[in-house]
Symmetry: C2
Subunit: 206 residues, 2 copies
DNA sequence: CGTTGTGAAATGATTCACAGCT
DNA sequence: AGCTGTGAATCATTTCACAACG
């Protein structure tokens, strides 16, 4: 009875749309409207939500506040997720200043880099620490997520180090497949792969 | 008989692994080895490749060079894909200096920004142009892809402008769903969503 | 009425099993 | 013997159809 992966991806999308409606003062919404907003069928929305409990009200729709709370619970976004960033090149800097993170429960609370030239510098209010401090700071600050923004050849080593620090999940921006024990979640973002998907779409669809 | 979406995603992964083997001088490989390298079943690899022709040699395996060429053709990566970047904040700068792009057929050949303070500056060898130049330069340089790295509220407007310039695909980093005509491909990368996937994994798996 | 929740049917993707080639 | 290509079977996901509810 565990949740289909595609459902989880859509839950994030529902959540964002709902938060926007909520900010606009809307209090009630139908599965049809949710579906239209993100481009899936109304039935799909109902099936997805039905997996995790009964949030809706027949004849009325969904109470937005209630539903937001429910989805946040499912996604685990109701707890804080302090994160450690490893690698403060251009991408790392972009992540440190990415405004959306602060709007959510995710927060990069510490940054690390192997390059002595940047260690000690302050970027978007956070000091860059040496790799030797990784274990100490992650433990001290109860950090649960690691974000890898280093070049590919160093990524596996960083992943190993993060796993030894007992992080629960790793967001990986390096274009390689990381091997880690199953208890650690991995989500990868790979720009080149995204571009290849796009090239495929663009070359078959015209 | 059109290709399953998941197949296309895996093709990118196969391609990268094959390129690494090729660089190491390996010339022949089995579906089993490919599958092991990226974490899928050998049968899956064969099914995927079988969709697009017959690349393998029974009893032997796949000739790496041949297979790389075949996959590149399928993905449309054998042609050049000049791209225009819109938005040169931290993320845009990271993309301009992302080394992997230059190793592939993708290349950001022009950068644009609405902020007069950065227009005219040079970042990683490319001059930042004003938005008013978008149409002229995209047409002049036969640019086929647009990359959106602007804040969410501006993203739809930028997408509309890119579509008017007749780009074939858009890589979107803004956390909203872009509405465009079907003939334009869209691939979105959304960091907050990725983190939510991770939070879900991390909160159910331990 | 309009809208949810959900079995049942349809579609889509993966895995199995094996014939056939080298 | 080793390995590919593929039809058939299994498994997963989406869509349909509709009963139940406010």
């Amino acid at each position: 009875m565990s949740a289909p992966r595609p459902t989880i991806k859509r839950l994030s999308l529902y959540l964002r749309a709902l938060e926007e409606w909520s900010a606009d003062g809307v209090t009630t919404i139908s599965s049809q409207q949710i579906g239209d907003a993100i481009g899936v069928a109304a039935t799909q929305v109902r099936k997805d939500l039905g997996q995790f409990g009964t949030f809706g009200h027949a004849g009325i729709g969904y109470a937005i506040g209630e539903l937001i709370e429910g989805i946040r619970d499912v996604l685990g976004v109701n707890q804080r997720w302090p994160a450690a960033l490893v690698g403060v090149g251009n991408l790392g800097r972009a992540l440190l200043s990415y405004p959306k993170f602060s709007a959510t429960k995710f927060e990069i609370v510490a940054a690390f880099d192997a390059d002595p030239a940047v260690v000690g510098s302050v970027i978007s209010n956070r000091t860059v620490h040496a790799m030797s401090q990784l274990k100490r700071i992650i433990t001290r600050r109860s950090i649960k997520l690691g974000i890898i923004a280093v070049p590919a050849p160093e990524a596996q080593g960083v992943a190993n180090a993060l796993v030894r620090c007992r992080v629960k999940g790793i967001l990986n921006f390096a274009p390689i497949r990381l091997g880690v024990e199953d208890s650690v979640g991995i989500v990868s973002v790979d720009f080149s792969r995204s571009l290849e998907q796009l090239a495929y779409q663009a070359s078959v669809e015209p």
